[in-house]
């Protein structure tokens, strides 16, 4: 730990030198890999020096560096809980800070500093516990030295060490002595039964500043001498201007500069630098740009659907195949079912519009960004500015949501900010994407077509399954492709289908990856957003066809070793049984379950139809995420994730393109759920577990839309296979 404010640069540098290199491991851990990822107490090869993570202040305050972006998911509270618990720190004195980009703050498993794949707790569980335990051991050693007793004779509680003869000293008093104690190589971690914070409903550390306006987000940054930049992006991805008339824009008071910058998709954009946002906005509005659209491909949703549907009728690159592929065709037509699905492009639209602030000076730069990929973004900015990554000081700013949008392999927002900053050295530039830039700016959840042929056996269970997925690859062309694309299959497009826990003997999944000119990206829960919808609506349909209870049907079909999913299903069934048994008139219950990122979620919803839209009166969620660090946070994540998942069902829940241009530009036509679209009440139940923790930010997203649609099907007798849900 760092005693008394002394931020020891030297200690920090030493720590960085011992850091594991930039080994980029998997975002998505394969099933066998998951076992290795399980942290084994005492065997973590890496010893993280506490002084890079913990500062003990003389007033007793304990400031913990969080090596992740906080953007709502609660990691800024959960990681300090782990550390403070092992340290026996006084929780009321704990504060958290978002760590800047640095090697020491890279994800211990993934090798880069990042948030993704719902992995923050899973991969830093051991790390933060050990940090706390080591710190505690050092404080105890310092106390033992002072009192000339054996460390084993000392106890700790609430930031105080107590000795055998009634001695006591606070952690703050012991900080300086502890800093001289060598970091212990091995430490004893607590048994789950001894946790004081872990497993308790602990409130967020960042609530109050987010309720009184004092929390600073990236967009709120005010650096001395700062200017605001807005960019006029090409209306079609990759296009360039033919002519730019910026006379009127330049004539506005407060406009400093207007110039062209390259975009990562090979086009050219026009940047406006002004004193304030409103000036920059007016100047951008007054630019007269004639774009050259002849040279770029102009994607069109209607045409893409036609192509996608055609592709879905032909086999693609094989993701998984088992059993006998001729068995399906051998079945009588009455035992076969064909289902075709459509999923549109979706924008993430985090509430805080995208932004990054960069100041470029001779030989160095300083950056403030709410980034999910600090390591990647820092390197990208350095590249644009001709610097080394370590010459770029990168502050992690609190971010207003992200859902994957702040994790781009090409760092396009950061590159844009750096391109602008490069032209005005010495002036901090705050690049702001307006909501229009965000909605029209690409990096969408890819559109997908699915075509599934199912053969039903005499028991009513599926015996053959042929599934074709059509959709862009998210990771092709990025460094992630090396371990996420195999044999022409981007794992993120078929996850949730190819690895389904339903035991279907003859099973074939293949995929086509068309390459239309639209940048795409992971959207909270990634491929599961569409694959779980297909699986969970089809399975429900098959259950109805077999006249079986949908829960019992799933239970029969699930692999015996799908323990988490079974546990979640059982718990959901038990907790929702009372209200499912006495539904109001014209209400129906719908259910769905799904496992992703190592976490299983089951959900039941009480739905009626109001104003031709689904009205969700209640949702019951059960989740098995292994050992839960903060049940309050898991509850909140489940509740929030359901609402996010409902984005897919909104009537205005689609991004569409016409002749290359995105047709929506703001929340009026690309509309996220409002309060009336969300469940009125959500009760969340956690499967008790001492298994290693898995994530909960994404796993509850996929279940809600199939659950709602399954309820609607009961009410209307219709099947819903095209999203968004235009009519009920």
């Amino acid at each position: 730990m760092r005693p008394a404010q002394q931020i020891t640069r030297r200690a920090f540098v030493t720590a960085s030198a011992t850091a594991a290199g930039g080994l980029l491991v998997s975002l998505y851990l394969d099933r066998p890999l998951r076992a290795q990822q399980v942290p084994v107490p005492g065997q973590n090869p890496r010893i993280y020096p506490p002084d890079a993570f913990i500062e003990l202040r003389p007033d007793g305050k304990i400031v913990i560096q969080v090596n992740r972006l906080e953007f709502g998911q609660g990691v800024q509270t959960a990681l300090p809980m782990l550390l403070a618990d092992e340290m026996d720190a006084d929780w009321s004195q704990v504060a958290a800070e978002l760590a800047p980009a640095a090697d020491i703050y890279r994800d211990p498993v993934r090798g880069i500093q990042m948030v993704g794949g719902s992995g923050s707790i899973a991969t830093s569980f051991q790390q933060y516990r050990e940090l706390g335990a080591r710190t505690r051991a050092m404080l105890v050693a310092a106390a033992a030295e002072r009192w000339k007793v054996a460390p084993e004779q000392c106890r700790t509680e609430a930031s105080v060490v107590r000795g055998p003869a009634g001695q006591s000293a606070t952690y703050a008093e012991l900080a300086e002595g502890a800093a001289r104690i060598p970091v212990p190589a091995t430490v004893q971690l607590k048994k789950p039964a001894d946790f004081r914070l872990v497993g308790k409903r602990v409130r967020r550390l960042d609530s109050r500043p987010k309720c009184d306006g004092s929390q600073r987000f990236g967009l709120d940054l005010d650096v001395l001498g700062m200017k605001v930049a807005l960019v006029a992006h090409p209306p079609v991805f990759g296009a360039r201007p033919k002519t730019v008339d910026d006379t009127a824009a330049r004539g506005l008071t407060g406009v400093a500069q207007v110039f062209e910058i390259p975009t990562v998709s090979g086009g050219t954009a026009v940047a406006v630098v002004a004193d304030k946002f409103w000036t920059a906005k007016q100047a951008r509005d007054q630019l007269k740009i004639e774009w050259d659209l002849a040279a770029v491909e102009r994607p069109d949703s209607a045409q893409l659907w036609a192509t996608y549907k055609q592709l879905a009728g032909t086999p693609g690159n094989v993701a998984v195949t088992r059993g006998d592929q001729t068995s399906l065709d051998a079945l009588a037509s009455g035992d076969r079912l064909v289902a075709e699905y459509e999923f549109p492009f979706l924008a993430h639209s985090p509430m805080e519009p995208l932004n990054t602030t960069v100041r470029f000076d001779e030989g160095r730069a300083e950056v403030w960004a709410g980034s999910q990929f600090q390591t990647v973004d820092q390197a990208a900015i350095a590249e644009v500015l001709g610097l080394k990554p370590e010459q770029v000081t990168f502050h992690t700013e609190m971010a207003g949501g992200g859902f994957g949008r702040r994790a781009t392999a090409d760092s396009h927002v950061q590159r844009e900010a750096a391109e602008i900053a490069k032209r005005v050295p010495g002036t901090p530039i705050k690049l702001i994407w307006t909501r229009e830039d965000d909605v029209q700016g690409g990096y969408y959840r890819p559109m997908h077509a699915h075509r599934v042929e199912v053969g039903v056996g005499p028991s009513g269970l599926p015996v053959a399954w042929r599934h074709v997925v059509v959709g862009q690859s998210i990771v092709t062309g990025t460094p992630f492709a090396a371990f996420m694309v195999r044999n022409g299959v981007d794992r993120t497009a078929v996850e949730g289908v190819a690895d389904t826990d339903y035991a279907i003997p003859n099973f074939h999944v293949s995929v086509h990856h068309p390459t239309p000119n639209v940048p795409v990206l992971w959207w909270r829960s990634v491929g599961h957003t569409h694959t779980a919808f297909v699986m969970e609506t089809l399975i429900d349909e098959l259950a109805a066809r077999a006249k079986m209870d949908p829960i019992a049907y799933r239970r029969r079909l699930l692999n015996p070793d799908a323990k988490k999913l079974r546990a979640a299903l059982d718990l959901m069934e038990e907790k929702s049984a009372p209200w499912r048994a006495k539904l109001a008139r014209n209400h129906a219950a719908g259910i769905a379950c799904h496992e992703c990122f190592g976490t299983a979620v089951a959900c039941a919803v009480d739905v009626s139809i109001e104003n031709k839209r689904p009205r969700i009166h209640r949702a019951t969620v059960a989740i098995d995420a292994g050992l839960v660090v903060n049940p309050l946070s898991v509850e909140a994540q489940c509740q929030g994730a359901l609402v996010f998942g409902l984005s897919q069902l909104m009537a205005n829940g689609a991004i569409t393109l016409k002749d290359g241009r995105v047709e929506q530009s703001n929340f009026d036509r690309y509309t996220p759920p409002y309060i009336v679209d969300a469940p009125v009440a959500v009760d969340v139940h956690i499967v008790p577990s001492i298994e290693n923790p898995t994530g909960c930010g994404e796993p509850p997203v996929p279940v809600i839309s199939p659950a709602v649609v399954n309820a609607l099907s009961k009410l209307t007798g219709k099947r819903y296979r095209t999203l968004p849900l235009l009519t009920v």
Binding site: G72, R204, D206, Q639, I675, V680, V682
Partner: protein
């Protein structure tokens, strides 16, 4: 248009600003007065992140030009704790752990305070009407409902 000078009453203080008459109140607050608790989310009155009270009425500051404010007092999130209802709402928000990313919450709280000032016992329907234009992308709606009811139940 040529800039003009406006005398505003913001959070009980007189503030003089010189700006283009068409500048939305949101950007006066954020860029001129450095009151960044009021957020920009959409700029078209579709998300509620920019909600402030103008003359006691919950108002989307992103679409109200500064020239139309006149002498109506403006209250922003930074001063809402001075109001007993405001304080109760903030406390309820904290005790219910409402916030996630927090970006929408200034607007949510300003809308909730306006509601509770009119109606201390709002039904779910009242809540949906008054909060119906505030987007929370993190989906904190269930907790918002609970917190509003709790704040309304305060003496």
């Amino acid at each position: 248009m040529a800039p003009a000078t406006y005398e505003l009453t913001v959070n009980g203080q007189k503030r003089s600003v010189t700006a283009d008459p068409g500048t939305p109140l949101l950007w006066i607050l954020r860029d001129e007065l450095k009151l960044t608790g009021t957020k920009y989310g959409c700029g078209i009155a579709a998300c509620g992140a920019c909600t402030v009270h103008v003359g006691g009425v919950a108002t989307r500051s992103c679409v109200v030009p500064v020239s139309l404010i006149g002498d109506r007092p403006i209250v922003t999130i930074e001063a809402i704790s001075q109001d007993p209802v405001g304080r109760a709402v903030q406390d309820a928000w904290v005790s219910h752990d409402v916030v996630q990313c927090g970006y929408c919450q200034s607007g949510q709280i300003m809308s909730a305070v306006a509601l509770l000032k009119r109606n201390r016992k709002p039904t779910d329907k009242n809540i949906e009407e008054s909060m119906g234009g505030n987007i929370c992308r993190c989906g904190t709606y269930v907790r918002i409902r609970e917190a509003i009811k709790m704040a309304g139940a305060q003496p």
